[in-house]
């Protein structure tokens, strides 16, 4: 692939959204809503077109030349040797193009939808400015070929998320949620920065000779990775040796960054609160793209994770643990968006599990399919919320199926894709779970947890569908609900179509027994099967995969069926046996989100403020000021004495001059005396 073309296209993909953001931000208010609507959406549409060109180039690139890294500009250079020298590099390969397709493609649909959703909001210019900025930052994140630049994109999406969660400033809850999200993201940023430091200091100090290069012994000395370029980092990954503790720590730090972004336990509490933002934001940032960046990150750093099985196992376990935890919590939430948010957390948990066991392509496959059906669910929910005048409590809904048919059907498609029957999730989810039968720590224990998540997924997905769309309306708002405008329906329908067919298409020609997505594998695996890459996930045998597929889908269907039995055309309360004294604590635990927010408040926030109070009341006046008072007591008394007898400022000044002069002389005498 021609580097100039790649650089040009990458720059276009980055520039269009940031330009759109600047135009909307600076000119949006004076030029009005139409201008903002057009600029905000067209910039992303054009970026998507550029991504399609990249895809075409990539598909036609000869074998072995499917990755291209170009330098855009020199970011910072602190000298040679062990000094930091970072340049703005971008890599175009199957992985980054795969992500860009989701970001700009789904992003474009959501931007179009936003035109309708934000039609009455006075802050539309600000909204599109932030949304376009998000697309820019996310594109930078997946294109970056340098760890520092990646971190800049990484933080940029966090900023966009912060701004959009707190979009409706007046709400206290929005401000608090935005701050919570940002602080969690900063924790992740710091972890990534520390990982970069460890890489900087430890990797690449062993002699390294690039393949094919002529390396005389003298030149084989210490070579510092002071540039933090990703290709170099990966090439040097094995220099620490397998199972190196340093590499394990590096990977754990990277994973902490990923957990913060992808809302994995214990850094997950911000995501449900993030639903304070407008619904298109939830669809784009908190479902389809940003929260999946953690999956991307681990996939991108796969050469390190391949060499650090302990860290990878931890990643897989955390992913699966979060998945079942979030699925459990989703069962009893009553806010339509929060249910979907916990569902997102749960599904991303599965992806994190997949990349943790080395099934990278499977994880990314589910990432794309999930982006389709989760964006769909959020946008359809957005239609509901829009027509319900911002009411989000599903207890106030019901019977919407008859009133908004297209939305309801789309939501049903999304729910089926999420639940894992017929559509999207059936392929991608079972595919990644299938790897769990033979890979990962204590296989197949996590696989068994995974199929249990299937039951939960079916349950909460169809509880949500049943309570929201079937039965009788439970409020006036629901009785007067009507179908959404066309600009909001078209993206929903397109996403529904994608969620319905993407699994079938990408899986075509279907290997029935293995159920391996042929195209996805062929497209993505060259990225993960590199020369230095260590052990990658084992393919489950055809028979095993077949059995796994049947079990997984079967359990999904059981979950769906039970949910339909309990919640369709009925109230949303828990079934009778969960209201009694024996099992009554279970719904409570689920409803209160395992009390984790309360725990953090008691362990971190309150002690933080308490410490601050102690410092202000005691340490600062008594210790910090106190020791100075003690030491300079004499001088203070002296000056206080001067001040008390002085009235004019000039004389005050004169006395200080005298003080100077005397002290100067004394100093001279002492110093001279010392020397001689």
């Amino acid at each position: 692939m021609n580097p100039t073309v790649i650089a040009g296209l990458s720059a276009t993909i980055l520039l269009l959204p940031i330009l759109g953001s600047a135009l909307c931000g600076f000119l949006g208010v004076p030029l009005g809503r139409r201008f903002v609507n057009w600029v905000g959406t067209v910039s992303i549409g054009l970026a998507f077109a550029a991504v399609l060109v990249l895809l075409a180039l990539l598909l036609h690139a000869p074998q072995g030349h499917q990755s291209s890294t170009v330098v855009l500009w020199n970011w910072l250079s602190l000298g040679a040797g062990s000094n930091l020298g970072v340049s703005v590099n971008v890599t175009v390969d199957a992985l980054s193009v795969w992500m860009l397709l989701v970001i700009t493609g789904v992003g474009f649909l959501i931007h179009v939808y936003s035109v309708g959703y934000m039609e009455h909001d006075p802050g539309v210019a600000r909204f599109f400015s932030y949304m376009n900025f998000f697309i820019f930052a996310m594109a930078l994140l997946v294109l970056a070929a340098n760890m520092v630049i990646l971190i800049i994109g990484w933080a940029g999406v966090a900023l966009a998320s912060y701004l959009l969660i707190g979009f409706w400033h007046d709400r206290r809850s929005a401000a608090v949620a935005a701050r919570k999200a940002m602080i969690t993201q900063v924790i992740g940023d710091v972890a990534l920065v520390l990982a970069a430091f460890l890489i900087f200091v430890n990797l690449g100090t062993a002699p390294y000779c690039p393949p094919g290069a002529h390396c005389p012994a003298a030149a084989g000395g210490a070579q510092h990775l002071h540039t933090l370029n990703l290709p170099q980092i990966f090439a040097h990954a094995s220099s620490l040796g397998p199972n190196s503790p340093t590499l394990t720590i590096i990977c754990i730090l990277i994973a902490i960054g990923a957990f913060a972004k992808s809302a994995q336990f214990p850094l997950h509490t911000w995501l449900p609160d993030a639903m304070e933002g407008p619904t298109p934001v939830s669809a784009l940032i908190h479902a389809a793209t940003m929260v999946t960046a953690g999956v991307y990150l681990i996939a991108r750093f796969h050469p390190l994770f391949d060499l650090a099985p302990v860290a990878a196992g931890m990643v897989a376990s955390v992913g699966m643990g979060t998945s079942i935890m979030a699925g459990f919590i989703a069962l009893s939430q009553t806010d339509i968006k929060r249910v979907i948010a916990y569902s997102t957390m749960s599904q991303i948990g599965l992806m994190i599990f997949a990349v943790g066991i080395g099934a990278y392509a499977a994880g990314l496959y589910h990432l794309m399919i999930h982006a389709f059906f989760k964006a769909l669910l959020f946008l359809a929910a957005g239609n509901v919320i829009h027509t319900m005048h911002d009411e989000q409590d599903i207890r106030q809904m019901g019977g919407l199926q008859a009133r908004m048919r297209i939305t309801a059907w789309s939501f049903l498609v999304g729910s089926l894709a999420l639940g894992g029957f017929l559509f999207g999730g059936m392929f991608s989810k079972e595919d990644l779970l299938g790897f769990g039968t033979v890979n990962g720590p204590a296989a197949p224990a996590l696989y068994i947890v995974g199929v249990a998540v299937n039951v939960l997924t079916g349950l909460y997905a169809f509880r949500l569908y049943g309570v929201t769309f079937t039965g009788e309306p439970r409020s006036d708002l629901a009785r007067h609900a009507h179908e959404a405008r066309r600009v909001m329906l078209i993206p929903v329908v397109i996403l529904a179509a994608l969620a319905a067919v993407a699994g079938w298409v990408l899986q075509w020609p279907v290997t029935i027994a293995g159920f391996r997505p042929a195209f996805v594998d062929a497209f993505l695996n060259p990225v993960f099967h590199t020369a230095v890459s260590g052990p990658i996930a084992h393919e489950p045998g055809a028979g095993l995969a077949g059995i796994g597929f049947v079990i997984g889908t079967g359990l999904s269907v059981i979950g769906i069926a039970v949910a339909l039995r309990i919640w369709v055309r009925r109230d949303l309360d828990a079934p009778a046996w969960f209201r009694g004294p024996i099992l009554g604590w279970l719904p409570r635990l689920s409803f209160h989100k395992l009390y984790i927010d309360e725990l953090y408040d008691a362990l971190l926030v309150r002690p933080g403020y308490a410490l601050a109070r102690v410092l202000r009341r005691t340490v600062e006046p008594e210790v910090m000021d106190g020791w100075v008072r003690g030491v300079t007591g004499v001088a203070t008394d002296f000056s206080a004495g001067i001040r008390s007898v002085q009235t004019g400022l000039i004389r005050d000044y004169a006395s200080i001059m005298v003080f100077f002069a005397v002290a100067f002389t004394v100093a001279l005498i002492i110093a001279a005396g010392l020397v001689h």
Binding site: S77, H169, D189, T632
Partner: protein, 544 residues
């Protein structure tokens, strides 16, 4: 740039401006302010030319590589300068008028000129006679701070260092709010105590050189005088091996610089002063005067006293990290927005200290980047705090909320500055924190981890400040608040723009600082070798 004395010009221009200012009648406030702005603009342009010159021309007489001792033999300078001027001054005691600029001082000079420009622009046009005094004192302060940054002679440096206090004292004591008296006194006592110790040390160094037959106060000469590094005259209390006179001299310098910086626990003068000082004074005080402590450490502290600096390195980095965390937690306990900013400043300045005391190229480059970064941020934050106070009549964050709706421009610029202050990647704040933390990490990983905790706390307190003013429903005090005036916006916008531009493209800073930092680190490393190889008491014995 030929033989024209550019440095003398940038040094004396503000003072000359102050003299000419006296010719303008006190009633003509417009003319007074206009003249002041003209002088600082001219100064900024000239400094810009000097910085550009530093960026584009190589240093003269530098040591190309390897330990400095080899270069000294062939007459190369320990700290190569890009521009310098030298003339005899007080020949009897060997003091000379020696000015120089290199990559270490270039960007701080630029910051200096920049913050004085901002300060001059935001001086309120008081209708009294006192505007002239104010502007005159401000220009004198600029000459003094410039002098600190270009002096290569220790006595000259000390003259400017102390001289700076005189106009500052008047500015702080005459203007500012009702609490200024106590705060100013506290500051002056702290500073004078610190600088007197430094004077002692300077005289001690002079006599040390004199014993070697070199009659000098010149930094480059002192650095080349072997005993300046190593000699030790046992003091009565030097029975503890590390408490050599070298160590005492270093401590004397260190206390002076640490007070200015300020490092915890020398910081308690700062919140009181920042709370009471008038906005234009705060702009250049917080913007550049406090940075001179950091500059002093880099230029004099760790080069002249590499040996004690290495011995005290664990203590110094520990204090820096303590400052980061302590300042951060203190912000969370405050409700006065100016005091919040003041403690945030303590935390951020400690990153500079952390970078310096990592005694590493990444760290010291980072410290210089962080100096520029924090200079811009703190100016912005104090201006915003001051304007908010003027609009709402309060500094209590609990009485403010929801200003965003009425003040979109203030919101946007405050947001950029807030993000830079919490070190968001993509802003200059990130560059400063990344590089200083990298330096610290290379010395000892735990420091970077703790500094990272400080970064997380920064996101907590900065958002508490920003959201506290901007979000939620407006209070009675903020209901009718007015957005930035055009000229206020024109002052803030370049600051915000710089924070983003230099965050995306920090190369212009790094390219300049990294030209001169290696020489500093080479000198600092000299101490490390002896510290490891020979116990100090032996060295001093042998030298005698």
């Amino acid at each position: 740039m030929g033989s024209f004395p550019w440095l003398t010009v940038i040094l004396l221009l503000p003072a000359a401006g102050a003299v000419v200012l006296q010719l303008i009648p006190g009633r003509r406030t417009d003319a007074i302010k206009g003249w002041t702005v003209a002088v600082v603009v001219a100064e900024a342009v000239l400094v810009g030319m000097v910085v550009f010159n530093v960026a584009t021309t190589p240093a003269q007489g530098g040591c190309p590589g390897g330990p400095y001792a080899r270069c000294a033999a062939i007459g190369l300078l320990p700290l190569p300068m890009h521009l310098q001027e030298q003339a005899p001054w007080i020949t009897a005691i060997g003091a000379s008028y020696h000015l120089g600029v290199d990559g270490v001082s270039a960007w701080i000079l630029a910051l200096n000129a920049g913050v004085f420009l901002v300060a001059a622009l935001v001086v309120p046009r008081l209708t009294t006679e006192r505007l002239k005094l104010f502007c005159g004192l401000m220009l004198l302060t600029e000459t003094a701070t410039t002098g600190v940054l270009v002096s290569l002679d220790l006595l000259l440096f000390y003259l400017f260092w102390e001289g700076m206090l005189i106009p500052l004292y008047f500015l702080l004591a005459f203007y500012g709010n009702e609490n200024r008296g106590r705060a100013t006194l506290k500051f002056v006592i702290y500073t004078v105590a610190g600088s007197l110790l430094m004077l002692l040390a300077i005289i001690y160094l002079h006599f040390q050189a004199l014993n070697q037959g070199v009659n000098t106060f010149d930094l480059e000469t002192l650095l080349q005088t072997p005993l300046a590094q190593q000699s030790a005259v046992p003091l009565p209390f030097s029975s503890v091996p590390t408490l050599t006179p070298q160590m005492w001299a270093f401590l004397a310098f260190a206390v002076a610089f640490a007070i200015k910086l300020p490092m915890v626990p020398f910081h308690t003068w700062l919140p009181d002063l920042y709370e009471s000082a008038p906005a234009p004074v705060l702009v250049f005080f917080a913007g550049v005067v406090s940075k001179l402590g950091a500059y002093g450490f880099i230029r004099f502290g760790i080069t002249l006293f590499s040996h004690p600096a290495h011995q005290l390195q664990p203590l110094l980095v520990a204090l820096a990290v303590l400052g980061i965390l302590y300042g951060a937690v203190m912000v969370l306990s405050q409700t006065d927005i100016k005091r919040m900013v003041a403690y945030a400043s303590v935390s951020h300045m400690s990153f500079i200290a952390l970078g310096i005391f990592s005694l590493d190229q990444n760290g010291i480059n980072g410290a210089l980047i962080q100096i520029v970064n924090h200079g811009i941020i703190i100016v912005g934050l104090f201006l915003i705090a001051d304007w908010v106070e003027a609009r709402t009549g309060t500094r209590d964050i609990r009485e403010m909320a929801g200003m965003e709706r009425r003040t979109p421009w203030l919101y946007a610029m405050f947001l950029v500055i807030t993000l830079a202050a919490l070190g968001l990647p993509g802003t200059l704040g990130f560059v400063g924190e990344l590089t200083t933390m990298l330096g610290a990490f290379q010395y000892f990983w735990l420091l970077a981890v703790l500094a990272g905790v400080g970064v997380v706390l920064a996101s907590w307190y900065m958002l508490r400040l920003h959201q506290g003013l901007m979000h939620e429903a407006p209070t009675p005090r903020t209901e009718k608040v007015r957005d930035l005036r055009l000229r206020e916006g024109l002052v803030l916008a370049p600051l915000a723009a710089l924070l983003i531009f230099l965050g995306v493209y920090p190369h212009p800073i790094g390219a300049v600082t990294s030209q001169s930092v290696p020489a500093v680190v080479r000198l600092a490393d000299a101490g490390q070798v002896t510290a490891h190889d020979v116990p100090l008491s032996h060295t001093s014995g042998a030298q005698r």
